[in-house]
């Protein structure tokens, strides 16, 4: 019984985070990160943007010099 096989290739992190930070059933665990969904999305994406931003900026700066 195999309803579906999922592609083995690596998925893009951004598409995965769409699903793991905004999707999935939300339950109050003992450690309640999962229910702080909006916070989590914002915090995580901000971290992601900041990090990528830094990478592109420093790359561009090197090219300009």
């Amino acid at each position: 019984m195999s309803p579906a096989a999922f592609p083995a290739r690596e998925v893009a992190l951004v598409d995965l985070l769409d699903r793991l930070l905004a999707g999935g059933i939300v339950l109050a665990g003992d450690i309640t990160l999962a229910i702080a969904d909006i916070d989590m999305v914002q915090i995580s994406l901000r971290a992601l943007i900041t990090s990528l931003d830094r990478t592109t900026r420093s790359g561009a700066a090197e090219r300009d010099q």
Binding site: M1, S2, P3, A4, A5, F6, P7, E10, V11, A12, L13, V14, D15, L16, L17, D18, R19, L20, L21, A22, G23, G24, I25, V26, L27, G29, D30, I31, T32, L33, A34, I35, D37, M40, I43, S44, L45, A47, L48, I49, S51, L52, D53, T56, A60, A61, D64
Partner: protein, 261 residues
Amino acid sequence: MSTASYTYAVARPFNPTQAAGLVGVDGAAIHLVRHQDLVAVVSPLAPADADETALRARLETLAELEVIARAHHRVVAAVAACTPTLPFRLATVHRTDDRVAQLLRREYRRFRETLDRLAGRVEVGVKIYVQHAGAYAGAMAAAEKTGGSGSARAGRDYLRNRREQRDRRQHAWRRATTAAEEMDAVLAELAVDRRQHRTQSAELSAAPGENVFNAAYLVDAGRAEELTARAQRLGAENPHVTLEITGPWPPYSFAGSEEGT
């Protein structure tokens, strides 16, 4: 402090040999917590991570977030490939397996109903992009970086170019969102359900262009290819937009309530 229990999903019982060797967050082997005809797919989380502050700190680090997200997905995808599966939100952590068992008892009816709705179904992601003529973003970035150091004339040229590019960009964006609405209507017909995600910022996406539409469609697993092919055709027929199709995925976007996220 002792280990905590990280839960990936609730599923219909399955042959454990199908999950033999499956590891989750931090390489911890997964095990099943059972209640009647439901199992929770769980792995132990090291004591150092078993409190909110520590876990939050890890998730706020991009590299750590990625490692945990990929581990979560690896487990959910492996389980969903062999049995109806209800994925949990990232970082659902209980103190002990007993607490997970309590959750199964407490939410039994809701889990059963959601599993019935998701059984045999997968989601397909469709993102629609508009391509902007000219390196608008590049010009913006370059000008902002040099800001003030260029001559006055270069500044005027830049402002004029920028206005023209902005007008073209708005026109292209409107045309693309209209196309996206039409495509969405066609694809929704093929799907059991749909959810819209927020559009992805260009910084986050490797894809060229601006993301104007980002949705997931829930389909019977046997119809995923049909929906994918239909989406590809719609994309090929429209020269003004580019489609990116992802999946099939375990039905993450449909694991919540019927009303959606």
